[in-house]
């Protein structure tokens, strides 16, 4: 040991290191632990009323040595701006609001009557938020959804983000986050989609582990998250319309990110079933969108190779071995015809809706402008109003169905 110290003391860098330690070490002795200075927000909700913004945060307050479920707390603050509302929370709690782990921002539907960009502006500029937070809407108060989130977390370890990620696999939704919103908002089509979650009261008499710590949970009536698969469209940041079931199906088919699709056929009569309802489930999908300009008219064709398997057959007359056979190809010509008719009908309805509401979810403007710039500009110059470019676009789905046993 003595030799080691002797050797080190002959090296000049040892003295430089020692000086640095002497300078820096004392200041760290008096530093407050981060857990005492910050509340770690995981979910944040924004409501807007006459008094301005009301922010509700679901935060973890590290208490060490206890079950993590009891560390979830809800804090609210209000102010004329988002920054002021967060400052309000800090003033009431004596801690900084830490957004480094905030991965979900809930917006109440009231905010969407105005441009939501004004509510999200703070989060794009602050260095406090280091994640690309998921955006979710709620048709009630975001505070209610946060309370439901706390209950769900206590009972099932569920979070809103889990629900959204699951829904993204079943719909056109893909990476519904702040950065994606601004990317779409600043594009020509300026169309964005957000999932909407609701809450429902459940009269649960049982106690939950987190019920005692949070003052906002009612031990008799708890809120639960309710997902009705509602998706709303924002145009220029403002709520425009809901997607109906037909639109959801079509956008699901033509979206390369949607991995789950169910097609239900009613009243099927073919060689295997009579007066039955058949449910087909997607197993695989490959899609190539093709953009072209034909005779001055933009045409987009979605070439879709869709593999499906039978999921369920509902019939009062399923009393033969055929009904439970696993090797029969249930995608008969009749069933296939019904699927195509259903898709064609839904496509026609979707196109009408797109044109009427001028919503361009698939960013057709950007695609044609990118791939056929000069011809696209020429097409736009033929229109009296450029905003009605969707009226002239021919949208087709070239469907190739395949059955998987």
């Amino acid at each position: 040991m003595g030799n080691l110290i002797k050797r080190m003391s002959r090296n000049k860098y040892f003295y430089i290191f020692a000086v640095l330690i002497i300078i820096m070490f004392p200041s760290t002795l008096y530093m407050q632990s981060d857990k005492d200075k910050t509340i770690v927000v995981t979910t944040l909700g924004i409501d807007y009323g006459d008094d301005g913004y009301e922010i509700t945060t679901l935060a973890i307050t590290p208490l060490g040595g206890q079950d993590t479920n009891v560390n979830l707390e809800i804090f609210t603050g209000s102010g004329e701006t988002i920054a002021e509302a967060l400052e309000n929370i800090s003033n009431n709690t004596g801690k900084d609001v830490g957004l480094a782990h905030c991965d979900c921002i809930i917006l109440s539907i009231d905010i969407m009557d105005k441009n939501i960009a004004h509510a999200l502006d703070y989060f794009t500029r602050t260095s406090n938020l280091t994640t690309n937070a998921t955006l979710v809407a709620t048709d009630g108060k975001s505070k209610d959804l946060i309370e439901a989130t706390k209950s769900s977390h206590d009972l099932l370890n569920l979070s809103v983000k889990n629900i959204v990620i699951y829904q993204e696999g079943k719909s056109v939704l893909n990476n519904v986050n702040i950065e994606k919103f601004y990317r779409n908002y600043l594009s020509h089509s300026s169309t964005f989609y957000i999932p909407v979650l609701s809450t429902e009261e459940s009269d649960d008499q049982g106690s939950s582990p987190g019920g005692e710590s949070g003052g906002s949970s009612d031990s008799q009536s708890q809120k639960k998250i309710q997902n009705n698969n509602r998706i709303i469209i924002l145009k220029n940041g403002v709520y425009t319309a809901d997607l109906d079931d037909k639109e959801k199906m079509i956008y699901n088919i033509i979206s390369s990110d949607a991995k789950q699709l169910e097609i239900t056929l009613d009243n099927v009569n073919d060689e295997y079933v009579t007066n039955s309802t058949e449910v087909f489930q997607q197993t695989d999908k490959f899609i190539i969108p093709w953009y072209s300009i034909e005779n001055g008219r933009p045409v987009v064709t979605y070439h879709v190779w869709l593999s499906m398997m039978i999921d369920e057959i509902e019939s009062v007359e399923n009393h033969s071995a055929i009904a439970i056979s696993g090797i029969i190809k249930y995608l008969t010509p009749t069933a296939e015809k019904l699927i195509r008719e259903k898709i064609d009908s839904a496509l026609s309805s979707t196109i009408d809706s797109m044109r009427a509401k001028k919503i361009d979810i698939m960013r057709l403007y950007e695609h044609f402008n990118a791939y056929h710039h000069s011809k696209w500009r020429k097409y736009l110059s033929t229109l009296t109003d450029e905003s009605e470019y969707l009226d002239g676009i021919d949208i087709r789905i070239d469907l190739h169905l395949n059955y998987v046993v």
């Binding site: 640095l20 300078i23 280091t130 690309n132 950065e179 990317r183 600043l186 950007e366 402008n369 990118a370």
Partner: protein
């Protein structure tokens, strides 16, 4: 005489020097100037840099060994002109080092630290710079040889992870608004380019390979250029019209990783690797500045220039603390950009003229002038 650096070390230093200042603030600046065509701007600027690099390398291999840029200008033009050129280079390197250190500081406070005590940062940086400026270029080159693979893996991760979020439509059509935005970008971003200038400082110290002396360095340069170009493609493809708001591009890209979060916060690899790159870049710039002082004042001592340069860099850092946006605004003005182009290409033209003059004098033996005494350095 200072120990020579190998072609491998030269190539690595040139590659890192080329990459360092182009991946933080420049992407957003380039997008604000050139829009979606900013990758065209970058491609043209990098191509010009490659041409400059090849010209200098070809001249370096034809000049006698041990002859520095100062020697050649002193012999062909005059010593006062050589001192003037080195004074300009000194200011140029200090300005670039200021940008590098400010980017490093801002990178730390955005990605790593909530509170960063400026005195701790500055004192530590001063000591690092003091240490690096005393060491020969060979030490820096060897450091890069050791760090090369981790650096490569780290910055490759930065490119691969966000690819799933790329949209080709953000890159097309090429030059939608014509060539004017591209020209606008080229005119205003010259301070981030012209990295071949450091080869002038390396002149006389490079131990070229016997066969194909320049090949390795050019390959390194091409790799760096290819990486930078791909970075811009991925950056603009991912962010599109929101690219102008990503003021620290390298820190923002990993956030948009389309892969599931189960593989962890991989941006930490980028953060660690990138800070190493910026510190080495600052060290190279500091060392180049020290070399300028040594040539101007005709001294071979390492410590006094290192102390002077470290002190100046620290003082500049303190004066311009948290003013990166102001510095970048000044650096991208037309006047500064034209001056930078003048420095890059004017000095290159001077080198060519000096070489031609030397060649025409038909000196059969090139003597290494006694501008610097020969002395062993450790």
């Amino acid at each position: 005489m200072e120990k020579t650096i190998s072609t491998n070390q030269t190539g690595l230093m040139l590659a890192i020097f080329t990459i360092a200042l182009k991946l933080s603030a420049l992407p957003a600046i380039a997008y604000s100037l050139s829009g979606a065509s900013s990758y065209v701007t970058i491609a043209i600027a990098l191509a010009l840099d490659l041409i400059g690099t090849i010209i200098i390398l070809k001249l370096l291999t034809k000049l006698p060994k041990g002859m520095t840029f100062f020697d050649i200008v002193s012999q062909t033009l005059s010593r006062p002109i050589a001192i003037l050129i080195y004074s300009i280079l000194l200011i140029y390197f200090l300005l670039k080092s200021l940008i590098t250190l400010q980017e490093l500081h801002d990178y730390y406070i955005v990605t790593l630290f909530e509170d960063l005590n400026p005195y701790f940062f500055v004192i530590t940086l001063f000591l690092i710079m003091l240490f690096m400026c005393q060491k020969p270029f060979r030490a820096l080159g060897r450091t890069l040889e050791v760090c090369f693979w981790p650096l490569l893996i780290g910055i490759t991760f930065t490119l691969i992870l966000p690819i799933g979020d790329m949209e080709i439509i953000n890159l097309l059509p090429v030059c939608e608004d014509g060539f004017a935005p591209v020209l606008n970008g080229l005119v205003h971003t010259s301070i981030s380019f012209g990295d071949f200038i450091i080869l002038l400082i390396f002149m006389g110290r490079i131990s070229f390979d016997e066969k194909k002396p320049c090949k390795k360095i050019i390959v390194y340069m091409l790799s760096a250029i290819s990486f930078i170009f791909n970075f811009y493609i991925v950056f603009i493809g991912c962010f599109g019209n929101t690219a102008v708001g990503q003021t620290l591009a390298l820190g923002e890209l990993p956030l948009h990783n389309a892969n599931p979060g189960t593989i962890g916060r991989l941006e930490w690899i980028t953060i660690i690797i990138w800070t190493v790159v910026l510190i080495i870049q600052a060290g190279i710039l500091g060392k180049c500045s020290c070399d300028c002082i040594k040539q101007i004042f005709h001294t071979d001592r390492d410590l006094p220039p290192a102390i002077i340069i470290s002190t100046i860099m620290t003082a500049l850092l303190l004066i311009s603390y948290l003013q990166l946006s102001t510095i970048l605004h000044i650096g991208t003005t037309t006047v500064v950009s034209i001056v930078c182009y003048g420095i890059h290409w004017g000095i290159l033209i001077l080198l060519i003229i000096s070489y031609i003059i030397l060649k025409n004098k038909n000196k059969k033996t090139y003597s290494v002038p006694h501008s610097m005494p020969v002395k062993e350095h450790r």
